[in-house]
Amino acid sequence: MAGKGEISIWFFIGMSLLVNGALICGAGVYEYIDPPLEKVVLFEVHAAIWWGALLFASGLLYCLKFSPRRTASK
């Protein structure tokens, strides 16, 4: 969804997933190292770490596939 030299909407989505994934995964790792006093239910599965990593990886794929540099060269 982008013409020559334009930024694709999928790149914006990749950016969003990448940044959110990094922040969530980072927060999850911090809680793993220094667990809070009040824990959420199923804290032991550390959802923030793997869900954040999954979002980060998806975002990275989108950013690479739809990077403005690649769009411009098409």
Binding site: M1, I7, I9, I13, S16, I24, V40, L42, A47
Partner: protein
Amino acid sequence: METSRLVRLSAVDIVIIAFYFALVLAIGFYLRGRANTGEDFFMAGREMTAWVAGLSFLSANLGALELMGWAGSAYQYGILATHWYWIGAIPAMLFLALVMMPFYYISKTHSVPGYLKLRFGESSRALSAVSFAFMTVLMSGVNMFAMAKVMQIVLGWPLSFSIWISSLTVAVYVALGGLRSAIFNEVLQFFLIWAGALLIPILGLYEAGGWSNLKLLIAQRASAEYVHLWSGLGSFTTNPMGINWVGIVFGLGAIISMGYWTTDFLVVQRILAAKDMRSAQLAPIIGAGFKMFVPIIVILPGLLGLGLLDMKLVPESMATQPGMHSYNDVLPLMLARYCGPGLLGLGITALIAGFMSGMAGNVSAFTTVWTYDIYRALFNKKASDAHYVSMGRWTTVIGVLISVGTAYLVMRSASIMDYVQALFSFFIAPLFGTVVLGMLWKRATGPGGFWGLFLGTLSSISMWAWVHADPTALRYVALSPEAKPMAQDMFQALWSFVICVTVTVVVSLVTKPKTDAELTGLVYGLTPIPSEGEVSLYQKPIFWAGVVTVVFVILNLIFW
């Protein structure tokens, strides 16, 4: 700031929310140079791919109130709430794709009222455009207030803060980039909604020990009827909703959902922006494919709340004591149950994104209908294209301000909210009757279309007023003394549709029909459908509609 709140945000949550606002504004600024002509500003240049148009079509409907309201309904009524996502959406979306879209697209109309002008004349357009514009902007305000209320309960944010921050953001990015900006942001919001909400059912099912165990838990706490879609719909008394299969199949499936998904310009506008006919047909099918799985992030959290939460949720009117929560709080409660710092921020972002996508949909549809179907049609026919684009930008800002005004009005008197929501439902069923007869029956005439639409709408308002004044009248509208309020909308829609169609047919038969030449491109049988060319089976809309239909049937059988 309020002291009572469901959740407390950490620094990382606030960064995630702030990043979302920065990104949607960045998209608006980036696209401002691509909204200089009317076609660009109001129709996104008609160059959207099927995927972008399809996801935006779905996202415009996936508002935060929709997410929270239907999760609450699932807690209250069980899996029956899924009907609004399956039979109450999928057949209508496929009907739009395969039957109605060719006429919308070939006629090159820019709006649903625009089609009525081409098919039935100026009076039908004026009636439809004025009612749509008025109701859209009011609904936007009602949703804005309701969302601010949610943010107050969940986060403790003051009402005015939520109202102004979200509405100004939407006003900026829609006024700058027009429909293209609204659509791009809706696609972004679609991904955020799934990323923020999907973890709840995953963790919930893990905690419950799987779907089978969850069904047992629900049967113990409520009733086994709560996990069956169809088996309790034989009569009004054998299901928690107090409705029967006739209301669900004919009221919801055949009329209300057809009316909403095929004639509500808020959603149809996204499809009209598709780059070609095949994309315009594929877009609703893609939307339908994803719509079938939305219950995973909406209905399932409600059912999980019913099976797992220690507390008992109550109706909104009873949740007045500290520590009590209403059905509508079930989604934020489940979010707070599983999501720590970061995930909580993403979940709240999903709710804000849902609200903003719905509001942007309302505002961009209002802007188009006001500019093309009211301002240009009734006040200023011969202005330049640049003038209409400028009018569109200003209308975006003014529409948002009227919505904000409505939100403050609702703040003073909550009953206004009920009236506005009821008013919106008056127009959907008769409008569907008028449009579908216009597309499929060439004998339908201009006076027939106008009077059918007018009297169908009037009958809908009359039935609502009758039941409002005398609640026992519901037995006559729904044809059963055992019918509960949920049945009213279904049967009201059914009757107003029947009245609209009957009046249209009778008036058309006694008035002069249009010639075939005048109807070319507007009516079935007189509209040459362009060939799809040499495309494989997998690229054909009919193939994917078939796939969606098969999955739809299987899902209904599994959860029968």
